[in-house]
Amino acid sequence: MFDNLSDKLQDVFDNLGKKGRLTEADVDRALRQVRLALLEADVNYKVVKDFIVRVKERAVGADVMHSLSPAQQVIKIVHEELINTLGEAAPLNLSGAPPHVIMLVGLQGSGKTTTAGKLARRLRKQGRRPLLVAADTYRPAAVKQLEVLGEQLDIPVHSEGVEPPPPEIVNRALKRARREARDVVIIDTAGRLTIDDQMMDELVKIKALSKPDEVLLVADAMTGQEAVRVASDFHERVGLTGIILTKIDGDARGGAAISMRSVTGVPIKFVGVSEKLDGLEPFYPDRMASRILGMGDVLTMIEKAEEVMDKEEAARMEKKLRKGEFDLDDFLKQMRQMRKMGPITSLLSMIPGMGQIAKEIDPEATDKQLKHIEAIISSMTLEERRNPRIINASRKRRIARGSGTTVQEVNELLSQFRQMQRLMKQLQSGKRGGLGGLLGGFGL
């Protein structure tokens, strides 16, 4: 797997630190790592080039040279510059007289139809009366898909099957919106390639007749180098007002966000975070910047943890943690849950500042250690797990024998557990502290 950027820069910075001065060559070395990280994150090759030039201009400047910690300065500049490039969070811009029109465009399979449903739901929550329009007459069952979503949401869908040309469907949908006092019209268009002139013309037509307030490009967060071309082509031919980045619940770094934003200059407005219809969130440039740099995101980790853990179980666990009633049985369960999330090191590397620690941990040794702990606890009776104080010398011998360990190891575990319990009581914050605390408690 790729090392994350903060670790790589740490190496470069360690060397810089010893010299105490930041030369152009030093900056170049650091930026080489930045460049690699950005390319691995799928930021477009040319966009990376420009970006590096901008960072360098700032980094080799006087304030860096005289700075006490040039190393940190570089990473700060990179991060800031990324956030700048990503732009500010921008809300939907629905001004003027209703009905307002939102047109969704994009490549095949980027998530337009689902996003149309999500937007409609969101707008209704804000007191609007949306109308969905099924203008994808090409993909088999696309119309039906939107109808089903409309039904689930209880939001009307204007559909006319697959026979009429999409611009005509849109025309009639607009009339219907006026008639039925619908104040936002959301048009779901077919996915298309930008090299398909005929299909691009269709979008131009729909735009001309519906005069949308927003033309949003729906793009997949996993998109690679092609993002630049996709975004600039759609922007040139149709004229975009914003971008929605979908499927960021995956683990793609999302460098496409940088690429698309820098070539179009239009803001990223929302991100899609799940398949469910409530899975649409405003865009946060700082989160995205950290993600692209691979600098860790505690939130991602927590989300991951929640996904694996059965909701009820999680709530129960949280309560126990808060009260400091967390026992060895809970610990065993939690540990097994954690194991499902993947190797411990990958979890650690998601916590800011833990990247270095994660690297120092030998994943195999750690896993072995965890298995050890698991074996010891499994050899305890339920009563012993609930109330470790009853574990006397003879019980310890039995547990050691049962788990193929030594009494000393059993002792160690018990003392670590006591330590952890103390720590838990200090942490009033629940989940977030819980997981980190657990790891910390066992010296991991």
Binding site: L36, E147, I195, M222, G224, G250
Partner: protein, 322 residues
């Protein structure tokens, strides 16, 4: 396309024409920058940089790009190659070598097996359902009896979509109601394939899922297990459908799907786009998973068996992007 003496993979003329036609759009008939480089006729540092750029822009990824360029440079030195054209040829050979991935031949069209089960998986919107429609048609035209299982019971209208494809391809579709248990669909589809329909090949369409979603990955394993319990050694092929516009995350996708259900091959879709899909080289290199088919459009005939030579040519073909 430059003349290529090393061309060895068999591909029928019709397929070749189709690929050429769809790739034509992206080439615009212009010999790209590499073409110009040929004429320069001297191997310089710039050449290696240009190659790096072309590969990275084709989503090959930094690591695999470096590996390829280094291997090519080594061979160029060792073999005393002087002409750019020959260096270019060496690069292509290196790429093809990786793409061949030491894979056994595709095992869908197997006359010795009563029923071949093919599980089709991938992230949301990658092109699974469409690919199944095309493959159904492809094998039916070869005289196979094909059945489709609508095991995406989650996405709105996914079942209807597959049914439309079934009709287009002239094959039957086994489906339950939306929201049903996908395992049960597969169970019934296998029973039907073995009994009443006497089918040769069963394609299982699954819901799109991100590899980061633990529960959905487990669900997919359950589907696999249902097939495994009913048919000896099933699924015989597990195809991961990958969108050619996908960047480096495709490697993690392939890795996770492989871990989960043992992916045996990739179908690279939307190659009619200008995207190059170069990440499949990294996938073949690191995971040993070969590409089996490419999708080149939304029509039922827009599918071809993968030819590494054709693919490599089009990847290196530099279009006029600025």
């Amino acid at each position: 396309m430059p003349f290529n003496p090393f061309r060895r993979a068999k591909i029928d003329v019709e397929d070749q024409e189709r690929i050429d036609r769809s790739l034509e759009k992206t080439r615009g008939g212009i010999l790209g920058r590499l073409g110009t480089l040929f004429q320069a006729n001297e191997i310089t540092d710039e050449l290696w940089e240009e190659l790096e750029e072309i590969l990275i822009m084709g989503d090959v990824g930094v690591e695999t790009t470096m590996k390829l360029v280094d291997a090519t440079r080594d061979r160029v030195r060792r073999e005393g190659v002087k002409k750019i054209e020959d260096a270019y040829q060496i690069l292509k050979e290196e790429m093809v070598r990786i793409l061949q991935a030491d894979a056994p031949p595709l095992d869908i069209d197997n006359p010795h097996r009563l029923l071949t089960v093919v599980l089709v998986v991938g992230v949301n919107g990658s092109g699974k359902t469409t690919t199944i429609g095309k493959l159904a048609n492809y094998y039916r035209k070869k005289g196979k009896r094909v059945v489709l299982a609508a095991a995406d019971t989650f996405r709105a209208a996914a079942i209807d979509q597959l049914k439309i494809w079934g009709k287009r391809a002239g094959v039957s579709v086994i489906a339950h109601k939306p929201g049903g248990d996908p395992g049960a669909v597969v169970y019934d589809a296998i029973r039907a394939s073995q009994e009443s329909r006497d089918a040769d090949i069963l394609f299982i369409d699954t819901a799109g899922r991100l590899h980061t979603n633990y529960n959905l990955m487990k669900e997919m394993e359950k589907i696999r297990n249902v097939a495994r319990r009913q048919v000896h050694k099933a699924p015989h092929e597990v195809l991961l459908v990958l969108d050619a516009t996908t960047g480096q995350n495709a490697i993690t996708q392939a890795e996770k799907f492989k871990q989960s259900v043992g992916v045996t091959g990739v179908v690279l879709t939307k190659l009619d786009n200008t995207a190059k899909g170069g990440v499949v080289i990294a996938i073949a290199d690191r995971l040993g998973v070969p590409v089996r088919f490419v999708g080149t459009g939304e029509g039922i005939d827009d599918i071809a068996e993968f030819d590494p030579w054709v693919f490599v040519e089009s990847l290196l073909e530099h279009d006029k992007r600025t």
